[in-house]
């Protein structure tokens, strides 16, 4: 892969309270690319994201951003204190610079993410799925080069999840912005991603979803069944079946993933 990146993290090390969260973690996002960080709970996915966003400092390692990179950030969840009266419209206005807060533009972006109907609702009255879309609208209003999403489908039902991932893809295709997201929901996310970074304190493997799903470390992390299921899901004709009908990967497939040394 070329050196043309929007954001790049190298050799990130983070310990919290004596516990190692990340060691030698690397990640980079190129223009227009959808990159997903996956890994088990406690693997440090959100930590890596927070370091890359500058919300947290790393003990070691560097984060480089392209000059004047505009980031749209969608946090995992946003709990608003009910004592603060705020409409969806007012909430959206807070994310963009003063004087650039045209009502029409806000409505257009709300429509784009499929939440046009809640524009004037108090933010406490909308559903979890609507909230995710409103958060996405706020990120998009900044016209970001990079959209960063932390578990974008949390608290959304299965149908809604597929819709949201479709929306993320659609936004990328439409606007050409890159997407970096965290997810532990393997099935849906793998289909909507260009490149997967599989994290468990360090980067176990990274590359195209189908390649990663056959990587030995991925298989040992998520188990044979999940890995096999994903391989089937993404790559029906690229594997063999053994005599019991179980899936076995090809032995001669071409790797296009990057190998990482384990620290």
């Amino acid at each position: 892969m070329s050196d043309d990146y929007l954001i790049k993290a190298d050799g990130i090390e983070v310990s919290i309270g004596g516990r190692r969260i990340l060691s030698h973690a690397d990640a980079r996002v190129g223009a227009g690319e959808i990159v997903t960080l996956i890994g088990p709970n406690g693997a440090g996915k959100t930590t890596l994201l927070r370091v890359m966003l500058g919300l947290m400092s790393a003990d070691r390692g560097t984060v480089q951003r392209r000059a004047e990179l505009t980031i749209g950030y969608m946090p995992q969840k946003l709990v608003l204190d009910p004592a603060l009266p705020l409409t969806v419209n007012g909430f959206l206005g807070l994310g963009i610079p003063r004087g650039d807060t045209g009502h029409g533009r806000r409505l257009a972006v709300l429509d784009e993410v499929g939440a046009g109907l809640v524009a004037d609702s108090p933010i406490g009255d909308i559903s979890g799925g609507e909230m995710q879309r409103v958060l996405m609208a706020r990120a998009l209003l900044r016209e970001p080069d990079l959209l960063v999403l932390d578990e974008p489908v949390q608290g959304v039902d299965v149908v809604g999840q597929a819709d949201l991932y479709a929306l993320i893809r659609h936004i990328r295709d439409d606007r050409g912005c890159a997407v970096l997201m965290v997810s532990h929901d393997l099935h849906v996310v793998m289909a909507a991603t260009d490149r997967v970074i599989c994290l468990n304190q360090h980067v176990c493997c990274a590359g195209h979803p189908e390649t990663v799903s056959r990587h030995p470390e991925f298989v040992s992390m998520f188990g044979e069944n999940v890995a096999a299921e994903l391989a089937v899901y993404h790559h029906r004709h690229d594997h063999d079946h053994d005599v019991h009908g179980d899936v076995v990967p090809h032995h001669d497939h071409d790797h296009d993933h990057e190998d990482y040394s384990h620290g």
């Binding site: 950030y73 946003l78 009266p85 909430f91 807070l94 003063r98 900044r142």
Partner: protein, 265 residues
């Protein structure tokens, strides 16, 4: 009408105009105890002001800003991080109040109206006080207008605001300093022990009848203004203590606002 009553009314309305929007942020950011800590520390400020021969108001502002900065910067990680904000505020509030009382007890030569500072003495507001109050109010409200959007963004969600480029820490400390100045200015009206109520009660009453933060801030100022005038009237007519009377009127308005919210729903 008597001059002192007109001065008292103007002073009270100025303080209500400040306490409305600043108090709304106290309610949104759950800083009621911080407000109480600031006002308790005011007694130490008064004592130090008297000791050094400057106006007590400046002592109060100085101590309030020091307290705000200590809490704004001091409680960050490390060994100190094991104690909760709540505990630190409790120590600070009553520690400064006690030190203030002890310092004052040494000052036999000062004719000192402790009750006036504790419960307010709005009827004793002089013309000079009014100028100071007016100037202070204008400065605080202008600063708040500048701070409004970033402060609101940081109040809604600090991390989102940070990623979007808001200097969250600076904005928070700026607000704490404004609050310290407001407490110092309001002290004369309702007194150290009741200042927090003027910040919280009108804002809370306004909540049920507001759809936007701006509406809530303005409505809180109005509720505060009515409380001040109502309390003054009661104090003048029935000869009740002015500070507590203002708070009692605010309390009645709060209950009415709550009842109206139930009825209209």
């Amino acid at each position: 009408m008597d001059d002192f009553l007109i001065r008292a009314g103007i002073a009270g309305l100025l303080v209500a105009a400040l306490a409305g929007p600043l108090g709304a942020f106290v309610v949104w950011r759950r800083m009621a105890y911080f407000g109480a800590t600031l006002s308790h520390s005011a007694l130490l400020g008064i004592a130090l002001g008297l000791l050094m021969g400057v106006a007590p108001l400046f002592g109060v502002v100085a101590v309030g800003i020091v307290v705000a900065l200590m809490l704004g910067f001091g409680n960050r990680g490390g060994k100190a991080g094991v104690l909760s904000e709540d505990t630190l505020l409790g120590i600070m509030a009553h520690g400064t109040l006690a030190v203030g009382l002890v310092v004052i007890s040494f000052m036999d030569d000062v004719r000192f109206g402790l009750m006036g500072y504790l419960f307010g003495d709005i009827l004793a507001v002089g013309t000079g006080d009014l100028y100071v109050l007016f100037g202070g109010s204008v400065v605080v409200l202008l600063a708040l207008a500048v701070l409004w959007r970033p402060l609101l963004a940081a109040t809604v969600n600090e991390e989102l605001a940070r990623v979007e480029g808001v200097p969250v820490a600076a904005v928070r400390i700026g607000y704490m300093v404004l609050l310290a100045v407001t407490v110092a200015l309001a002290m004369k009206i309702v007194g150290i022990l009741l200042v927090t109520s003027l910040l919280i009660i009108p804002a809370a009453a306004a909540r049920w009848h507001s759809r936007t933060p701006e509406q809530m801030a303005v409505l809180a100022a109005l509720v505060g203004g009515v409380s001040v005038l109502g309390g003054l009237a009661a104090s003048y007519i029935v000869d009740t203590p002015s500070g507590p009377s203002i708070v009692v009127v605010a309390l009645v308005l709060f209950v009415l606002a709550r009842a109206m919210a139930t009825v209209t729903r």
